[in-house]
Symmetry: C2
Subunit: 286 residues, 2 copies
């Protein structure tokens, strides 16, 4: 017999009712917020959470407020049944899959805004995106009240923004950022990879290859960011169907561009492959 699907609830009240007895018993509650369309990247977070905590809660919510007006909210993959099956082996204690009206009822008026680290990169390319992310993450953290919440390194800037918010608002939760999971050929797992044709799938490797190139250059002793970025850019120039959005070598905390690689950096990239926007990043220590 296959393992049973985890309990599924749709309302905030049900989440509270489910978790209250666990909290009262002093259980350590871990939380993995997702937009569903679960892949091994998400599942690695769930696995880590289940290993580190007494109870594991997963949310599945395609949050409309973090999509721009011309983005892929409508076509974003929604695969709840498959997601529940995928979660079954991990002993998940609760899945919370609210409707949009449950999260944003009539009269909703509040936003959590983080400045600074939201202003560059994804924030510049996707205005309003991080306001949507921080607001929904604040809500989800308040609903689940976990001791630990798990985020993927794949959305590196998001993890920095969430950490900033948690610190600034004194949210009583620890944020754990877990490694990006990649296909064998290096492509970072993303729910948006489902949009790619077989040919685009090959072109999409430009992102991870450019990051590997940056790492090699740094390990070979190259230090000037302009040089590294110029070499990376050549890979994109060779792929006319891949349209670069940004490339950057940044400080891991401030996300500001560095001129010289003098300590750990994160190399960021974002590019369009056809109609699909992909991001990736790599932490590199010289």
């Amino acid at each position: 017999m296959p393992p049973a699907s985890p309990p599924l609830v749709h309302t905030i009240q049900e989440v509270r009712r489910h978790l209250e007895p666990l909290r009262a018993e002093g259980e350590r509650i871990g939380f993995v917020p997702t937009m569903g369309a679960l892949h091994q990247g998400h599942l690695s977070l769930v696995e880590t959470c289940a290993r580190e905590c007494d109870a594991t809660v997963v949310s599945i919510f395609v949050n409309p407020t973090q999509f721009g007006p011309n983005e892929d909210y409508d076509k974003y993959p929604r695969t709840l049944e498959k997601d529940l099956e995928a979660l079954a082996p991990y002993g998940v204690d609760l899945v919370f899959a609210p409707a949009v009206e449950e999260m944003y009822p009539q009269g909703f008026q509040t936003q959590v805004l983080v400045g600074g680290v939201t202003e560059l990169w994804e924030g510049r390319s996707r205005p309003g995106h991080f306001a949507g992310v921080t607001t929904v993450v604040a809500k989800l953290l308040n609903i689940v009240q976990p001791q630990v919440a798990y985020f993927g390194h794949k959305d590196y800037q998001q993890s920095v923004v969430v950490r900033r918010m948690v610190r600034d608002l004194d949210l009583p939760v620890q944020i754990r950022v877990c490694p990006t999971v990649r296909e064998e050929d290096g492509l970072a797992l993303s729910s948006r990879n489902a949009y790619l044709s077989p040919q685009q799938r090959k072109q999409a490797l430009t992102l991870s290859r450019s990051l590997q190139l940056a790492r090699e250059m740094i390990h070979q002793g190259r230090r000037r960011a302009v040089d590294i970025l110029a070499e990376m850019k050549k890979l994109y120039d060779q792929q006319p169907d891949v349209r670069l959005d940004y490339l950057a070598v940044v400080d891991p905390e401030t996300l500001l561009p560095v001129e010289e690689v003098a300590g750990p950096v994160v190399v960021l990239c974002a590019a369009w492959v056809g109609q699909t926007r992909l991001i990736d990043n790599l932490r590199v220590e010289p």
Copy 2:
């Protein structure tokens, strides 16, 4: 022997350390956020809190971000020792009096913004005020994690804004709004009353008298807000040293002006008496 002062801490970590064992034992924690300069209005909140909860936490923090650049942040009364004495009889379990740098350390970048109910009245007269209020209240609620937090009806719009924020962000706390405490002659207690000269103190009665007039008119069957406001305004016109900021008859939930008094309303007023800005309000049911 006078009752001992309550335990006083200055850091977030100390608050958490103090309250963790109480929370683990399932105690009901109540919280009264204040800016200090405590008067009977605050103390009535503390008394209610102590009666309704197992543990009572009071914060004393003159929050710079809710004062405008030309407001009274610098001269706002700071009377910590007297405040601790005043709290002594109530069996307060913890007083949290953080420094500004504890609440807003270097790198702080986050704001909680509520739209709609913040846009009129105090929000219009004091731009940025409610952003400061909601952000600091969110922080304090996350630091103390009370089951209940107590606010005064005196700052009516603030209580509506805080309720909106708590609902929208799913903060796991109940907000209780307690009656305005008044001097015998009707003046609403306010820490800012300390700024008034004896003569201004008399002039300041214009606010509460105008509210009483509104109540009488409504109880006598008057329903049109314009008529009520016109009669109220005459009281201010008779006091050349009292400068009216706004008068309004509003819906208790939306704070939008009503044309006809058909159900419960809140009558709001704000006025300058010399250099001192005072507010008051009264809920009236027809």
